[in-house]
């Protein structure tokens, strides 16, 4: 067997494997455009005979999805802003030096990264309610997400800063820049791409966040899309095409960003996650 046909064979197997793995996603989209009776047909149809395209508009209207998505956006953007503003500087310092204090700081950050949200939500909820922060529930969720996700961001961005040669900063200092000037004019522009990719990863996580929002936001008009999806799925629901339509609308923007930036996201993730 020569190399070309071997490559072809491997590619075909790989596509089949990816197809099997991504079947749940396909099933979500296909169920969405099935009619109510086709959805419960036995045997199930794997290609819709009578696609119902208007379902997206219907679900968007009837579930008030605009409001849910807007709240998700507010929460995700808020968390990304807090994390980026605070995390970039922290990652820079942790990448620049190598001493015992940096080791301690890194260790602390890694330990705080692993605390499960569903276990931390009890003390955070009680604490926030005592200081009155629960009167601003979206802000409370933003702060909680920021605390949860910042360590991950710092670890990723730190890997980016490590790849910026330190000689460049030294040269800028010799040329008469202050530390602040060198940081903003030299280091930050060089690390921009890595920071951007990490911020996008954080955005995706925060956009789908559920535990904190479910526990801390009581008012329906402030809840994000994940909580909306949860309340849509009652225990004995049979509107699966509507639920899948909701899920599809919710997840498609994230999937689009991911497919567009796939290479950068994967390389950003692999450089930071294991290091």
């Amino acid at each position: 067997m020569n190399t070309v046909s071997r490559d072809r064979l491997m590619l075909v197997i790989a596509i089949v494997l990816a197809g099997i793995y991504l079947f749940p996603l396909y099933w979500m989209y296909i169920t969405t455009i099935k009619s109510g009776s086709e959805m419960f047909a036995t045997p199930p149809t794997f290609w819709p005979t009578n696609p119902q395209w208007q379902i997206f508009g219907d679900v968007w209207q009837s579930r008030n999805m605009g409001r849910y998505i807007w709240n998700s956006l507010v929460i995700a953007c808020g968390a990304v802003i807090v994390i980026t503003v605070l995390g970039v500087g922290c990652a820079y310092v942790l990448a620049r030096y190598r001493n015992i204090w940096v080791d301690i700081g890194l260790f602390l950050i890694l330990m705080l990264q692993v605390l499960p949200a569903s276990l931390m939500v009890t003390p955070i909820f009680v604490g926030f309610s005592q200081i009155g922060l629960l009167n601003y529930p979206r802000l409370a969720v933003i702060l909680a997400i920021a605390a949860k996700s910042m360590p991950f961001f710092v670890v990723l961005v730190r890997a980016t800063f490590m790849s910026v040669p330190q000689e460049l900063e030294e040269a800028a200092l010799v040329d008469g820049n202050s530390r602040v000037g060198a940081f903003f004019n030299i280091i930050l522009p060089l690390a921009r791409n890595g920071i951007l990719v990490s911020a996008i990863l954080i955005f995706m996580q925060a956009f789908g966040e559920f535990v904190y929002s479910k526990s801390m936001i009581q008012a329906v008009e402030l809840q994000p899309a994940s909580v909306g999806l949860n309340s849509f799925m009652g225990p004995n629901t049979n509107e699966w095409n509507n639920i899948m339509a909701y899920a599809a609308i919710y997840v498609t923007p994230i999937l689009a960003i991911f497919v567009l930036l796939q290479r950068r996201i994967v390389s950003g993730l692999t450089s930071g996650a294991l290091k």
């Binding site: 491997m10 790989a14 494997l17 793995y21 991504l22 749940p24 099933w27 979500m28 169920t31 959805m39 419960f40 036995t42 045997p43 199930p44 995390g87 922290c90 310092v93 190598r98 080791d103 890694l110 330990m111 705080l112 990264q113 692993v114 605390l115 499960p116 569903s118 276990l119 931390m120 009890t122 003390p123 955070i124 909820f125 009680v126 604490g127 005592q130 605390a147 910042m150 360590p151 530390r179 602040v180 990863l201 995706m204 789908g208 559920f210 526990s215 994940s226 999806l229 799925m233 699966w240 919710y250 994230i254 999937l255 497919v259 796939q262 290479r263 994967v266 692999t270 294991l274 290091k275």
Partner: protein, 300 residues
């Protein structure tokens, strides 16, 4: 004042300022709740005392009550099953896929990256999709299993106490496989190729090369990945909320869901805090293993 200012712009103060603000933020919003959690687990907390810091201390009563409850041990056993089965599944499938994509054909890295969509999707959406796939009468998984002759009748994944935990495990394996695979690929790509060339010259077959080169060289990656898997599996909450809600009758309940359920459904914040403290100890142990196994890499 002037010296402080110039240090902020041009000296040590700049670094300290950059690092202390986020650390203070993290300690306030993660460290403080952690301590508060421990304090609450020794207190009597009810709806009336929720607003005040000074609640009656009750010693170890919450812990004793917790372990006197009949559902505690089954839920702990469920957690162990969930963690072990999920990690084993994610690891084996992920390792297999990583080895496959490692053979390096055109398009391999792009297709491999595509698997990561499961990782960026909101957990609730993943749960909703699997909820529908696993549904009893009309679920497509039951259809596929029936057609391939593996089962005779439908399995009621979500409502049968014998299967509901496995419903969540299946979804969790799907969710975590891609991340395991990507991390494994990183480890594999770090193995020097000439090791394989040398052993091939010596006449080692594929199987021998796998056991004598790949596995030993991957040892530290595997340790890190399993520790990370433990951390991530104990964080899994959304799938439980979306697929079984811990039911039926706690058959698929695990500690991280139970802690939330105690606090926010039954308003028993003290018990919720107590079970959180116990689980956080486990997570901390796992993360120490993780940090140790990546220690040389942490230092760059």
């Amino acid at each position: 004042m002037k010296r402080f200012l110039s240090s902020m712009i041009d000296g040590r103060g700049f670094d300290i300022g950059l690092v202390s603000l986020p650390l203070a933020f993290l300690l306030t919003l993660s460290g403080l709740p952690l301590l508060y959690n421990i304090v609450m687990s020794f207190q009597e907390v009810d709806m009336f005392s929720l607003g005040s810091f000074w609640r009656p201390f009750v010693g170890l009563k919450n812990y004793r009550d917790l372990f006197a409850q009949p559902e505690t041990w089954p839920i702990l056993a469920n957690t162990a099953t969930f963690v072990i089965a999920s990690i084993a599944g994610q690891f084996l499938v992920g390792f297999g896929l990583a080895l496959f994509f490692w053979t390096n054909f055109p398009g391999a890295s792009w297709l491999r990256g595509l698997f990561l969509v499961s990782w960026v999707m909101p957990g609730l959406v993943v749960g909703a999709i699997w909820n529908w796939i696993l549904s009893g009468d009309f679920g497509v998984l039951n259809f596929i299993l029936r057609e391939s002759g593996l089962i005779a009748g439908n399995i009621f994944w979500r409502s049968d106490p014998g299967f509901s935990l496995w419903a969540v495990i299946i979804a969790n394996i799907w969710l975590g496989t891609s991340f395991n695979m990507i991390l494994m690929s990183v480890g594999l790509s770090a193995i020097p190729r000439d090791l394989y060339e040398a052993s091939e010259l010596d006449g080692a077959n594929v199987w021998q090369r796998f056991w004598t080169i790949t596995l030993p060289m991957m040892r530290s990656s595997i340790g890190a990945i399993i520790a990370l898997g433990l951390i991530f599996t104990l964080q899994q909450f959304d799938l439980f909320a979306a697929i079984t809600s811990g039911g039926p009758n706690n058959a698929s309940n695990v500690t991280q869901y139970w802690a939330w359920d105690l606090s926010f459904r039954q308003y028993d914040f003290a018990k919720g805090a107590t079970i959180s403290v116990i689980m956080i100890v486990f997570v901390m142990v796992a993360s120490v293993v993780y940090v140790r196994s990546t220690r040389h890499e942490v230092r760059g």
